[in-house]
C-alpha cells in the first residue's frame, strides 16, 4: 500500500480530516470516504462535469484534483446547497422548470449555476450557457436548465437572497 497523507478540509461547513493515499482523487474522497454521493463520476477526463463541486466558491471538477490538493480549503457539494432544510433557489428552480431528468448531471449543474449567480446576479442567457458549458447533460437539452437558472436569479433578486447565493458560492 502506498503511504498516506493527512488532510483537513472544510466540507459543507464542517471540518473533516482524514488519512488519504496521495493519488486518491478528490471525488473518491468525497464519495467513498465522506459518503457524499452527490458528486458523480462520468468521464475521467474533466469533460462531463458530473463531479463538479465548489472549491472556495469556484466550480471545479473533483475528478481532476487529488484529495491532498484540497488540504486546508473549503468545499461545497450539492449536499451543502440545502441549508437548515431550506433549498437553494437553484434547487427549487430546477424542479419547477423541469431542469433535470435522470438527475446524474444535476448536482454539478446546480453548483455551476449557483456559483454563477453568486458572482453575477442577473446573467444573460449567453452567460448562463457559458457558465454551464463545462457540464454535460444528455437528457434535457439544457433549455430548461437555462430557464431554471433564470428563475433562480429572479427569485434571489426578489427576496434579497443573492447574499445567500454568495454564501453558498463562497465560504461554506
Amino acid at each position: 500500500m502506498a503511504t498516506t497523507t493527512s488532510i483537513a478540509v472544510t466540507v459543507n461547513g464542517t471540518e473533516r480530516s482524514a488519512q488519504v493515499e496521495p493519488r486518491m482523487l478528490l471525488v473518491h474522497f468525497l464519495r467513498d470516504e465522506l459518503g457524499l454521493t452527490g458528486p458523480h463520476i462520468g468521464c475521467d477526463t474533466s469533460h462531463c462535469g458530473a463531479c463538479t463541486i465548489l472549491l472556495n466558491g469556484v466550480p471545479i471538477k473533483s475528478c481532476t484534483m487529488f484529495a491532498v490538493q484540497a488540504d486546508g480549503q473549503s468545499i461545497t457539494t450539492v449536499e451543502g446547497l440545502t441549508r437548515n432544510g431550506d433549498l437553494h433557489p437553484v434547487q427549487d428552480a430546477f424542479k419547477e422548470d423541469h431542469g433535470l431528468q435522470c438527475g446524474y448531471c444535476t448536482p454539478g449543474m446546480m453548483l455551476a449555476g449557483a456559483a454563477l449567480l453568486a458572482s453575477n446576479s442577473d446573467p444573460s442567457e449567453t452567460e448562463i450557457r457559458m457558465a454551464i458549458s463545462g457540464n454535460l447533460c444528455r437528457c434535457t437539452g439544457y433549455q430548461n436548465i437555462v430557464k431554471a437558472i433564470q428563475r433562480a436569479s429572479r427569485a434571489m433578486a426578489g427576496n434579497g437572497a443573492p447574499e445567500r447565493g454568495k454564501t453558498e458560492g463562497g465560504e461554506a
Binding site: 500500500m1 454521493t37 463520476i41 462520468g42 468521464c43 435522470c102 444535476t106 457559458m130 444528455r138 437528457c139
Partner: protein, 782 residues
C-alpha cells in the same frame, strides 16, 4: 367535486416526484451503493483489434498488495461462462479466450480490496498477443481475402444474416417503368448513446441464503434476471436485480455486459460484494454502439412528384459479435418502417449483417429498433427526390402523405399504422416557422451570396413493442405490467415492470392512476426496478413504457374500479347497476350528489366488505398490446452557414410532435428537448471511428464530442393530438421521436443550404470541415 387538475391527472404538468431526491444529491445510483466488506473489480482490456492471445500471466498481479483474485477466460470456461448469449442469436465472449476481436475487449478481471488495488492489479496482468490482420471496413468483410473473424462459428464467413422485406420483383418493376428515379448512398454512422453515468454493478452473493443480489445499471432488470438464471444456472428466485436510479440509458443499458458477469462470478468465488464501475473509455469502446448502417435508398416517382416505390439496400456493421438489441424475429429491427409517412405502391428492403473488428452492439439508441435509421433514410431520400424534381420539399411530402381517412393504414411492408394526420403536423410546423417568409428570405440571401438552408422532416415512428406473439426478447414476450394496491386509507402503491432512466415514471404513471382512480398524485407511490417486488416486465427502451406498461397501469386501475364499484354499491346501499363512475367518484345514477370516493371505497374494502367480495383492493395487469403505436411529427430546421469556416448554426428549430394523448406536457416537452439535442449531436458531431489498425477514435469525451449548452440550439415545440385508437388512454410514447425525426431535418437543412452548389448529400456527422470542403470545391468558400 374534485377536478382532474386537482388530482394531477392526464394532461397536467405535475412537477416530478423523483426530483425531491435528485435536487438534494440524494439519488441512489449503482456507484452509490456501499456494502460492508465490498471489493472492487477492474477489467483488463485488449489494446489490439484482432490478435491471438498467446499467454496471460497473472502472477505479478496476484503479488500486488490488496489484489484478491484474477479471473481469465480460461477460468470462466471451467464454469462454462466464458461465452454468453447475445440478444440476437449469437454469442459473445465474457473474457477472451483464443483471440481478441476488438480493441477494448475484456480479457481479464482483477478483484481488489480497493479500487486502487484492482487497478494496479489490472495494470500488472501481462498478456502476450500475436497481432492478426484487422477488418474495419464492412464492405471488405465479404471479400474472399478478408480474414475470417469468428472461429467459434460453424459457418466460416463474416456474413451474419440476410434479411429482406417486401416484394422485390414488383418494386423493381415500378422502378423500370418510372418517370423519375433517384438513388442515394448514405451512412448512418456508428455512434454511442454515452449516458453520463457509465455502466456499473454491485454483485453480492449471500452464501447463507444462497441468494445473489445485483445492483445493476439496467433498463430491463427482469429480463436480466432471467438471463442470469439461464446463463449462470442460479435459480431465478435466488436472483434479485435492483436497478436503482439510472443516470441515463438511451439503449446503452439494455444488454448484459461482461463486467456484470465477471462481478457476479467474483462475488460467488470470494463470498464478498464486488463492485464494478466502468470508466468512460470502457463505456465508449466496449458497450453497445448504435447504427453503423451503410444504406442505399432508391425512390421511383412520377414526374408530377407522386412517389411510387422505395428500394433499400443496406450493409449493417455489427462488430465482433452480433449483440444487436432487437426482438428475436427482427435481425434488422423495425427497419422496414422506412416507407415512413408516405402512401407508396410498393417497397423492398434488404439488409446484410457482417462482422468486423469493432465493439459489438447495434443497440437501439433512443430508438425503437432501427426506426431511427429508417426515418433518416426516407426523409433524406425524399429531399433528394425533391431536388431531382425541382419541387418544394414541403409540397412533395404533402402530395404523398397517407391521408387521415386511410387509417388504420397497411403499409406495403406489412405494418398497420394506428392513426395519424401528417398534413396537420406539417401545416402547423410551417406556420410556426413562417415557411413562406423563409423561402423568400432564402431567395434574397442567395442572390446576395449568403447561405441559409431550410430542412424538413415529416417522420413516422413505430414504438411500443409487443404484441408478444410477434415481438420477444430471447423468447420473452414483450408484454408489460403494473400491480396496484389501494391501502385502507385510500393511498396507493403501484409497481411497474418498466424502469425509468430519467423519463419520470414515478410521476407519469401516478398521473395515469390518478386519472383512473380519482386519487391525487400526491397519494400515489410508484416503484420499479427491483425484481423482488415489481411485476415481471421487459423494461424501458423502444419508447415502450407508456404504450405497454402505461396501458397495463390503466387496465389495472380499471380492474380496481370494477371491484370498487361493487363495494361502492354496498356502501351506498344501492344496486351495482345503479352506480356509475363519473367525475372521479362512484355516483348513484340520476342522483350524482349521492357519491362515494375511491378512498371511501378503499376503507370499506378492508372494513366493510360486502358478502361474496374478496377483501382488499388490489389488481395486477400484464398487458399485451394488440399493435404498436405510431407517433409522428414534422420538424423544420433553419440553418445559416458561414462561408469562411463552414460552420453551420441552427437559427430556428420547430418541432411539432404528435404522440397521442399527453400525460404530462412538461415532461413531454422535456423529452422532446432532450431527444432533439441528441439528434443534433448525431448530425453534427457524434462519431465512433477507427483507424486502419482498428484503434478506436472516440473512446473519450475529447474525441467523442457531445454538445454543451453553448452549441445546443433553442428548441421551439408544439403539438397536434391524434390519440392511438387501441391504447387504453390513447397515448403513443414520445421519448424517442425527437431523436428519430430530427437528424434528417438538420442534414436536409445543411444540404438545402449547399444545394445551389450542386451538393445533394453529406454524411453525418456534418462537421464544419465537411461543409467548408464542399464550399471550397464549389469555389465559394471565403
Amino acid at each position: 367535486m374534485i377536478t382532474g387538475q386537482e388530482l394531477g391527472g392526464l394532461g397536467c404538468s405535475v412537477k416530478r416526484k423523483e426530483d425531491a431526491r435528485f435536487i438534494r444529491g440524494q439519488g441512489k445510483y449503482v456507484d452509490d451503493v456501499q456494502l460492508p466488506n465490498m471489493t472492487y473489480l477492474h477489467l483488463v482490456r485488449s489494446p489490439f483489434a484482432h490478435a491471438r492471445i498467446e499467454r496471460i500471466d497473472t502472477s505479478a498481479a496476484l503479488e500486488i498488495p490488496g489484489v484478491l483474485a484474477v479471473i481469465t477466460g480460461e477460468d470462466l470456461a471451467k464454469a462454462n461462462l466464458s461465452w454468453m448469449p447475445t440478444l440476437s442469436h449469437d454469442q459473445q465472449m465474457v473474457l477472451a479466450t483464443g483471440k481478441v476481436l476488438f480493441q477494448g475487449q475484456e480479457v481479464a478481471a482483477v478483484v481488489g480490496e480497493t479500487r486502487f488495488a484492482a487497478a494496479d492489479g489490472a495494470a500488472a496482468v501481462r498478456v502476450d498477443y500475436e497481432e492478426l490482420p484487422v477488418l474495419i471496413d464492412p464492405h471488405q468483410a465479404l471479400e474472399p481475402e478478408a480474414p475470417i473473424l469468428r472461429e467459434d462459428r460453424e459457418e466460416q464467413t463474416n456474413h451474419i444474416f440476410h434479411w429482406e422485406s417486401g416484394d422485390r420483383e414488383a418494386t423493381d418493376r415500378i422502378f423500370s417503368e418510372a418517370d423519375v428515379t433517384i438513388s442515394q448512398d448514405m451512412l448512418y454512422q456508428r455512434c454511442h448513446p454515452a449516458p453520463i453515468e457509465c455502466c456499473a454493478c454491485v454483485a453480492d452473493w449471500d452464501a447463507t441464503n444462497e441468494k445473489m443480489t445485483i445492483w445493476m445499471t439496467s433498463q430491463a432488470p427482469h429480463a436480466h434476471r432471467t438471463v442470469f438464471a439461464l446463463v449462470a444456472g442460479l435459480p431465478e428466485h435466488k436472483i434479485r436485480i435492483i436497478s436503482p436510479d439510472v443516470g441515463g440509458g438511451f439503449g446503452n443499458k439494455v444488454p448484459v455486459y461482461p463486467g456484470y458477469v465477471c462481478a457476479a462470478v467474483a462475488s460467488l468465488t470470494l463470498g464478498r460484494p464486488v463492485k464494478w464501475t466502468e470508466d468512460r473509455t470502457g463505456n465508449l469502446s466496449s458497450t453497445g454502439f448504435a447504427r453503423d448502417y451503410h444504406m442505399r435508398a432508391d425512390l421511383a416517382a412520377t414526374k408530377e412528384g407522386e412517389i411510387r416505390a422505395l428500394r433499400v439496400k443496406t450493409l449493417a456493421d455489427h462488430g465482433a459479435f452480433n449483440a444487436a438489441a432487437q426482438p428475436s424475429k427482427f435481425p434488422a429491427g423495425l427497419y422496414n418502417i422506412c416507407t415512413g409517412s408516405y402512401d407508396l405502391e410498393n417497397a423492398f428492403v434488404e439488409v446484410d449483417g457482417v462482422y468486423t473488428n469493432k465493439a459489438p452492439g447495434g443497440i437501439a439508441y433512443r430508438c425503437s429498433f432501427r426506426v431511427t435509421e429508417a426515418a433518416y433514410l426516407i426523409e433524406r431520400a425524399v429531399d433528394v427526390l425533391a431536388d431531382e424534381l425541382g419541387m418544394d420539399a414541403a409540397e412533395l411530402r404533402r402530395k404523398n402523405f397517407i391521408q387521415p381517412d386511410q387509417f388504420p393504414y397497411e403499409t406495403s411492408l406489412g405494418w398497420t399504422y394506428d392513426s395519424g394526420d401528417y398534413e396537420a403536423a406539417l401545416d402547423r410546423a410551417l406556420e410556426i416557422v413562417g415557411y413562406e417568409d423563409l423561402l423568400r428570405e432564402q431567395e434574397e440571401k442567395r442572390a446576395r451570396g449568403e447561405i441559409m438552408g431550410i430542412g424538413i422532416s415529416s417522420f413516422t415512428e413505430i414504438v411500443g413493442a409487443g404484441p408478444g406473439k410477434t415481438f420477444d426478447i430471447l423468447g420473452l414476450e414483450m408484454f408489460d405490467s403494473c400491480e396496484v394496491r389501494v391501502h385502507p386509507t385510500g393511498k396507493v402503491l403501484a409497481r411497474i415492470g418498466v424502469q425509468t432512466q430519467g423519463q419520470g415514471h414515478e410521476t407519469t404513471f401516478a398521473q395515469i392512476l390518478a386519472e383512473e382512480l380519482g386519487i391525487p398524485v400526491a397519494d400515489i407511490t410508484v416503484e420499479h426496478g427491483d425484481t423482488d417486488t415489481a411485476p415481471y416486465g421487459l423494461g424501458t427502451y423502444a419508447s415502450r413504457s407508456t404504450p405497454v406498461a402505461g396501458a397495463a397501469t390503466a387496465i389495472a386501475a380499471r380492474k380496481i374500479r370494477d371491484k370498487a364499484k361493487k363495494i361502492a354499491a354496498h356502501v351506498m346501499e344501492v344496486a351495482e347497476e345503479d352506480v356509475e363512475w363519473k367525475d372521479y367518484a362512484f355516483r348513484v345514477k340520476g342522483a350524482p350528489d349521492r357519491s362515494v370516493s375511491m378512498a371511501d371505497v378503499a376503507f370499506a374494502a378492508y372494513t366493510n366488505t360486502p358478502q361474496g367480495v374478496e377483501a382488499g383492493l388490489e389488481a395486477v395487469n400484464y398487458y399485451d398490446p394488440p399493435n404498436l403505436t405510431f407517433p409522428f411529427g414534422t420538424y423544420v430546421c433553419v440553418v445559416d452557414v458561414d462561408k469562411g469556416t463552414g460552420e453551420w448554426k441552427v437559427r430556428r428549430f420547430v418541432a411539432v410532435d404528435d404522440c397521442g394523448t399527453v400525460i404530462n406536457p412538461m415532461i413531454v416537452e422535456g423529452q422532446i428537448h432532450g431527444g432533439l439535442t441528441e439528434g443534433f449531436a448525431i448530425s453534427a458531431m457524434q462519431l465512433i471511428d477507427f483507424d486502419e489498425n482498428g484503434s478506436i477514435i472516440g473512446s473519450n469525451f475529447m474525441e467523442y464530442l457531445l454538445p454543451t449548452a453553448v452549441e445546443t440550439p433553442t428548441w421551439e415545440t408544439d403539438q397536434t393530438v391524434t390519440p392511438s385508437p387501441h391504447h387504453p388512454i390513447g397515448a403513443k410514447g414520445v421519448g424517442e421521436s425527437p431523436c428519430v425525426g430530427s437528424p434528417a431535418a438538420f442534414v436536409n437543412a445543411v444540404v438545402d443550404a449547399l444545394s445551389p452548389f450542386g451538393v445533394r448529400h453529406i454524411d453525418m456527422p456534418i462537421t464544419s470541415y465537411k461543409v467548408w470542403k464542399a464550399l471550397r470545391e464549389a469555389g465559394v468558400a471565403d
